[in-house]
């Protein structure tokens, strides 16, 4: 292939060389044509001048006229000159031109020789002309000129020798001598022309080669230029694409919610985004320094633990090759999540990238969510406990009902100081304590029904301090010193004395248990305008509060536990050692039900103080202490609707002992049917009965028949929505199981004594 190309190139070169040679020759021919135009015009002029000088006139004696040589010089010389000059001007370079010139030049020689009287010197014009003609570098021109000379001498030598040789007769070969001299010069001129042509050919070859090489080079240059142009275009495109990508990257970098910082191995900041500056609140002049150490110096005072942060930063930059994620806490509460990793780019070896995300809100949200979840879990636990408590209460209350009732009856029936009466009394108290536990469960489940009255908290405390339970507690902790400081004339709170008593009991019990090795228990009541709560446990409303403080000098509660101490079954105490694990939860529930606030302050090794805030009641209430009512009975007809046989029998005996006429029904349907045939004054209605027809359903049916039917609702549960609906329908009261005879008697009498109300079904 290369050989073929070379061959082609050689052919092209040869062809091109020929063209160049022809061009050269053409140029020479044209140039020489122009030269001869001037030369011939000059010769003509010289001829005329010579004629005028040499032979201006011809004479006859004293008479003269213009010499014929003058006319010959003008006319013949002009004629000789005219055609070649015309041809050279009209179409320079043509072959005919130079041959005409050759002829004309030889004729001019003849003319001049003649005009100069055949001077030998003038003959040199012939040889000079041949030399001039050799300028054409065309040997054929010399041949033409030589032929003209030869023919002239031959013809004249043969037929007119006197005109050329000056003799009337001469040798027929004398023309050969003249022609020979011309040929002699021609030989040199031929050699010169040949050599000149050879040189020209060589020059043409070289020029063809050079031009061919130039063409090849130019072609290559053009191709390379195209390639370069293409490369430039592609490079520009690539640069534009790179700029676009860089722009996109920069835009992305600026658009991200994270602060980005890139530092090379020398501590120079190579990249940051606006978010980074905003997050770290770094002023522009420091950013412009691009110095990581200056930046770090500036931000250190914002961080909670600057020394550790500074050490970590340097270590990460200089030595760490791992990805690191950690949190940075700020003095002002902000929290950043910091992620860093070494740069992968080799040119920035040792560099590192940090990205910072402000997770303050996220952390707070997560904390709130966590708390919410905990509250939900707690609520669910409490709800679950409530369900459990409800079931247990119902069953246990039904079980305890006869125990309480019959022991109560025994206490009443037996001699007061008899052992049997005392034992029956203990049975009753035990049963009542068991009922209290159930009540705790119900309180926790918030299913208890509070009878709110203006209550003096001091009296509640004193009542508890006088109670056997406190005495028993004191006996178990004899070395604990108890200090009581009650605010005189303290304002009443709207509350339930038993529940408040429960609160006092639970807190004092807790205090004693917190001081197993003794200590000081302080119970204080205060009357203050509310200020900001010290423990910030909850925000108080803007109300006046009656404050109860119960403080111990025990082991204290760890800070992390304080928030959870009111949760059910959260206890650091060993199981079984103390109460049900519901103590503080019950306290919390009761306080909340009283629209109060709980606060606690504790310090490990110093002690714990519970501070309860109860809104002051401005309602004038009945005294809570010393209220004793006599058990009263009646003669009205009472229908007891109770699905539990034991309970039904107990109630029947109690009511019967109170003098009333008692009938019983095992379920609601029976009871409804019964009153349709036999009206009764009051229905003692158990709330929880067979599924689908409970106390509320029964009472509704009864009211359809007798809209003024009086009733009391009884339930092992605390007051529920359905109980409330029964009460709303017109029931005269609610008695919670287990109940004492007094409680029941009071409720029956109260209900019977109420005026009949037309129920709104």
């Amino acid at each position: 292939m290369t050989k073929k190309i070379n061959t082609l190139n050689e052919d092209t070169e040869k062809s091109h060389s020929r063209v160049l040679l022809e061009d050269f020759q053409g140029a020479i021919h044209k140039r020489t044509d122009r030269l001869f135009v001037y030369l011939m015009l000059f010769q003509w002029l010289v001829g005329v001048i010579a004629a005028i000088i040499i032979s201006p006139k011809t004479w006859e004696g004293a008479v003269s006229q213009t010499h014929i040589h003058v006319w010959a010089a003008i006319i013949i010389g002009g004629l000789i000159t005219s055609l070649p000059v015309y041809l050279c001007l009209k179409r320079p370079g043509q072959v005919l031109n130079r041959h005409v010139i050759a002829v004309a030049q030889m004729l001019t020689s003849a003319l001049l020789i003649h005009l100069t009287g055949g001077r030998i010197e003038t003959h040199f014009h012939v040889f000079g002309s041949l030399a001039f003609l050799a300028f054409y570098r065309d040997w054929k021109v010399l041949v033409t000129a030589t032929l003209v000379v030869t023919i002239d001498h031959f013809v004249r030598g043969v037929w007119w020798p006197q005109s050329v040789f000056g003799v009337l007769t001469s040798s027929h070969w004398r023309w050969v001598e003249h022609a020979g001299w011309v040929v002699f010069e021609d030989i040199f001129l031929f050699i010169s022309v040949k050599q000149s042509l050879k040189d020209m050919r060589n020059v043409s070859d070289r020029q063809a080669k050079v031009e061919n090489l130039n063409l090849v080079i130019e072609k290559r240059v053009i191709e390379r230029t195209k390639e370069l142009h293409q490369e430039v275009v592609e490079r520009k495109r690539a640069e534009e694409a790179l700029r676009d990508r860089e722009g996109l990257l920069r835009s992305t970098l600026e658009s991200t919610a994270e602060g980005i910082l890139v530092i090379d191995g020398k501590g120079n900041v190579t990249h940051t985004n606006k978010k980074f500056q905003e997050m770290w609140r770094i002023p522009d002049h420091i950013m412009e320094m691009k110095n990581a150490f200056k930046m770090r110096e500036y931000v250190l005072n914002q961080i909670k633990n600057p020394e550790e942060f500074a050490k970590k930063s340097i270590k990460e930059l200089l030595t760490c090759s791992e990805e690191i994620t950690e949190l940075i806490e700020f003095i002002d509460g902000r929290i950043f999540q910091r992620y860093s990793r070494p740069l992968a780019q080799s040119e920035m070896e040792g560099g590192r990238l940090w990205s910072y995300r402000d997770i303050t809100q996220q952390t707070k949200s997560e904390q709130a969510q966590r708390e919410l979840q905990e509250q939900l879990d707690r609520a669910l636990r409490i709800e679950s406990l409530g369900h459990l408590a409800a079931g247990v209460a119902h069953d246990l209350n039904n079980t305890l009902g006869p125990v309480v009732g019959y022991s109560d009856m025994l206490t009443r029936e037996l001699p007061k100081d008899s052992k049997a009466a005392i034992r029956a009394g203990k049975i009753k108290r035990s049963a009542e304590e068991a009922a209290v536990v159930i009540q705790d469960l119900l309180s926790l489940a918030r299913r208890g029904k509070y009878e709110m009255h203006p209550t003096n908290i001091n009296e509640v405390i004193e009542s508890y301090l006088d109670s056997p339970a406190y005495e028993h507690l004191k006996e178990r902790n004899p070395i604990t010193k108890v200090e009581i400081s009650l605010y005189p004339n303290i304002a009443s709170v709207l509350g339930s004395a038993p529940h408040l008593s429960k609160v006092v009991m639970n807190l004092i019990t807790n205090a004693f248990e917190a001081m197993p090795k003794g200590g000081i228990l302080t119970v204080v009541t205060e009357q203050l305008l509310t200020e900001k709560l010290a423990g910030k446990y909850q925000n108080p409303a803007s109300l006046d509060y009656t404050i109860l403080r119960i403080r111990d000098s025990g082991h204290g509660i760890a800070k992390e536990d304080i928030a959870r101490i009111f949760e059910p079954y959260f206890s650091k105490k060993s199981l079984g050692h103390s109460g049900s694990g519901l103590g503080l939860s019950v306290v919390y529930g009761i306080v909340k039900d009283h629209k109060g606030l709980c606060d606690v302050q504790s310090e490990i090794g110093i002690g714990t103080e519970f501070i309860l805030y109860f809104p002051v009641s401005h309602v004038v209430g009945v005294p809570t202490k010393g209220e004793q009512t006599k058990v009263t009975g009646g003669i009205e007809a009472i229908l007891v609707v109770e699905d539990s046989l034991e309970q039904r029998e107990l109630v029947r005996e109690i009511i019967d002992s109170l003098g009333y006429f008692v009938v019983t029904a095992p379920d609601g349907h029976f009871a409804v049917d019964f009153i349709k045939t036999q009206p009764v004054d009051l229905v003692l209605l158990d709330m929880i009965m067979e599924p689908g027809f409970d106390g509320l359903d029964t009472y509704r049916e009864m009211l359809k028949f007798n809209p003024t039917q009086k009733a009391i609702v009884v339930s092992g549960y605390s007051e529920s929505d359905r109980v409330q609906k029964v009460l709303n329908l017109g029931a005269g009261g609610f008695v919670k199981k287990p109940y004492s005879i007094d409680t029941l008697a009071k409720a029956i009498r109260s209900a019977l004594d109420k005026s009949p109300v037309l129920a709104q079904i």
Binding site: Q94, W160, L168
Partner: protein, 216 residues
């Protein structure tokens, strides 16, 4: 325009150009040749040779040398063609120095100014060694010797006999080898010349005396 280009293209294709130029060239050649022949023919037309006397005439201005031949050349002081004759005379003088006496007679027609003969030719003639210049006032000597054309040369022997007559150029004003010169030189060297009478090329020495004509 198209035709011109077409014509030029045709010229380019033909090395000698169009036929038109070739024809022009041939016509040109014929014309030049014809005129040149005419001119040469004119130049080779001799003047009136006259009828010189066979013996040295009795004239006062010129004296026949008794010991060697005497050459007398009659020239027109203004004849351009005669310069060649003087050149030939100079050659003869050079080749045959001391073998003869030479007179150059400058013929001054009657009625011409006194300095009419004071020309370049006279000066040239005076510079030829051994030549005696004689001004022929009113052309009397020319008349005595019966010479009518400038350049006419007569050679008389010691015995006053005419041994050569004619011109010593091959044509008008044309220097170079010629029969007249050769004959004189041969005579002076004692050789037998090819010719003793040659044509004379030059202007008429006197009015209506210098008519051209063949000496033969």
């Amino acid at each position: 325009m198209t035709d011109i280009m077409h014509s030029e293209n045709q010229d380019e294709m033909r090395p000698y150009g169009s036929l038109k130029f070739v024809v022009f060239t041939i016509l040109w050649l014929v014309a030049v040749t014809g005129l040149t022949i005419g001119m040469i023919e004119y130049s080779n037309s001799p003047g009136n040779p006259g009828e010189p006397p066979a013996q040295w005439p009795d004239v006062k201005q010129l004296a026949l040398n008794q010991s060697k031949p005497t050459l007398v050349m009659f020239i027109h002081p203004h004849c351009p063609c005669t310069r060649a004759s003087l050149g030939e005379l100079e050659i003869i003088m050079a080749k045959c120095s001391g073998r003869f006496s030479a007179y150059v007679v400058l013929v001054k027609p009657e009625g011409t100014a006194a300095d009419w003969a004071e020309t370049g030719l006279k000066k040239s003639a005076s510079q030829i060694p051994g030549v005696t210049l004689v001004v022929d006032d009113a052309g009397r000597l020319a008349q005595e010797f019966q010479c009518k054309t400038s350049g006419a040369t007569l050679l008389f022997g010691q015995d006053s006999s005419l041994i050569f007559q004619g011109g010593i150029t091959s044509s008008q004003g044309h220097s170079g080898d010629n029969a007249g010169r050769s004959a004189i030189v041969d005579i002076l060297h004692g050789r037998i010349p090819e010719k003793i009478k040659t044509p004379v090329f030059g202007c008429g020495l006197v009015d209506s005396m210098c008519a051209m004509g063949d000496v033969n």
